[in-house]
Symmetry: C2
Subunit: 140 residues, 2 copies
DNA sequence: AGATAAATGCAACAATGTTGCACTCATTGT
DNA sequence: ACAATGAGTGCAACATTGTTGCATTTATCT
């Protein structure tokens, strides 16, 4: 299964002018293979046995990938960043869903925010972060 | 300035069946006096010199106050909880604004979320957390 | 005032994430 | 193919936020 992700990962990294290292390819491949946004822990667990990276390297690779816009970070109420590959849905703003049962986080397609609303006078808008909480299908 | 807050705090705590201790009253008074949602750090700094509490006590008091619905916790992307007294606006769902310049967090009046949107099939909705990011009036 | 349970302080721990520095290795040019 | 180079990595140490267990203190009730 991972061959194609491995290959895409390599391409994406090369195209962005970074060194193609085992760590970067492996991490990006893991994220490409994953539907949900996952934590640094979960990424570690999904990496092949032959590729054990230092925690610091993992953080730095994730930071680099996010900087190149290949992945994005999702903040959550448990003080843990989750990461998700930037596919179709990810270039534009979108909301996230977090299951309060299993802590799974997925990206939703849309950002269901009304058009007409105002910040207090003098405030400037930059972006919106929206997390819907509830129970996922498995936890219902 | 703090006399009235101090007094309100005492009342609120007593009404909720808790022991009226200096720590609880002081912390709630600080939060009542504050417009923004502030961190545990900022609460510590605003406490009078004569009332220095252990970090653990502060956390436990905040947890207790939140459990009694006298304050609410606001999660943020910097992995730090912020706390805000439950006034008028706070009993219902509302959005928060976080300034990317000074990290100030305020509560917005409304939750500008559309009515008609769906979670994936089998998912159950519980609540929404919405944070608008941008620059506050001072940071613009 | 004394009894009692609730609240607090201390020490130790856990998890996530960051920084500095030396070393390795992917890439580039020859 | 190989050497030079700087980007990437690993290690150790640290910072911050928050939690847990247990002994001690204190607000409240009678």
């Amino acid at each position: 299964m991972s061959h194609q992700f491995h290959h895409s990962a390599e391409d994406l990294i090369r195209h962005n002018g970074g060194k193609v290292t085992a760590g970067r390819v492996g991490i990006l491949a893991v994220l490409l293979a994953e539907q949900q946004a996952i934590t640094h822990r979960e990424i570690e667990q999904r990496l092949p046995q032959t590729l054990q990276l230092d925690r610091v390297t993992l953080y730095r690779v994730l930071e680099w990938l996010a900087g190149k816009n290949l992945i994005h970070k999702v903040s959550s109420d448990d003080r843990v960043w989750r990461y998700h590959a930037n596919r179709d849905v990810s270039s534009h703003q979108h909301a996230h869903f977090k299951c309060t049962g299993c802590a799974q986080v997925i990206c939703l397609e849309t950002l269901p925010v009304e058009r007409n609303w105002q910040l207090p006078a003098g405030y400037r808008f930059q972006e919106i972060e929206l997390t819907v909480k509830g129970l996922c299908a498995s936890c219902c």
